[in-house]
Symmetry: C2
Subunit: 144 residues, 2 copies
DNA sequence: CTGTATCCAGTTGGATACTG
DNA sequence: CAGTATCCAACTGGATACAG
């Protein structure tokens, strides 16, 4: 990956096409409706199936199972069965899953720091479309 | 947000429930099929509609329009029209959009660093289900 | 050039019932 | 307890045609 372009203001890091491809794949996982909540819960340590179900508000049994399978398939968590009666299954982040917490926290922090800015942007955009911008003779006008 | 729990190994940062809520919202945006590519392209500077279309392989006109509208609504980019014939429209990241590049790059770097690990996990999981783990008498056995 | 409108197939995820 | 199976409504996104 080429992360450094010098022709840019403030040597801003940039994603590139190849990098996006790999990133799209993990976004297909953690970008779904429930993965983030599961990862966040397991960040506090191993949990059993129903602990996760109770801890994640609104998740259905079906989606919990499916999402856990997906994360397991990606090698982000392990599934350990205790062949007892009643059965018990523990889910736990793998070392790989743990390393994902860094990037994820980066996003979480950004989201929290900027959620009001985004809400404000929504408000402006929704009440009769975003301050429209036109450019005439090279001069930019923003609607009032 | 409570980011520091001391009862955890290596003071790992952790997302919490409230934090996840805000993060889910931005994942609903950048987690979709095309936003990441648009953000990545605009990280190199302003682009017009058809520049984006040509630069992002496979995107349809419809999805480019819709995705740009979503990003604009979130305040991540601006849309500037040049009322000429033929018309010209420039899209450019806002200051807010720029700040998102940090967290996004964090994910992109993680994805690139670990894509082979994930592929390997897929391979193992798919060829007759992930090394199954059971725990008997407190001892964990992994299938061979 | 930069869109909008329509149609339609595929996917996602919720509700519910059933099982070892 | 920890799933699986089935059904179904809603959403996502692609193809295509048309417009200012």
């Amino acid at each position: 990956m080429s992360l450094s372009h010098i022709d840019l203001p403030k040597d801003m890091p940039q994603p590139d096409a190849e990098g996006c491809q790999a990133t799209r794949e993990i976004l297909d996982r953690i970008g779904d409706k429930w993965s983030l909540y599961i990862i966040a819960t397991l960040a506090n340590g191993a949990r059993r199936f129903n602990e996760l179900k109770r801890g994640i508000d609104g998740i259905s049994q079906r989606m919990l199972t499916l999402t856990l399978r997906g994360l397991e398939r990606d090698g982000l968590l392990t599934r350990t069965m205790y062949p007892t009666i009643p059965p018990r299954v523990d889910y736990e982040l793998t070392a790989l899953g743990m390393t994902l917490l860094g990037p994820v926290m980066s996003l979480v922090n950004w989201a929290n720091a900027n959620k009001s800015a985004i809400s404000e942007a929504h408000r402006r955009f929704d009440e009769e479309s975003e301050p429209e911008r036109i450019s005439v003779q090279g001069v930019i006008y923003q609607r009032r």
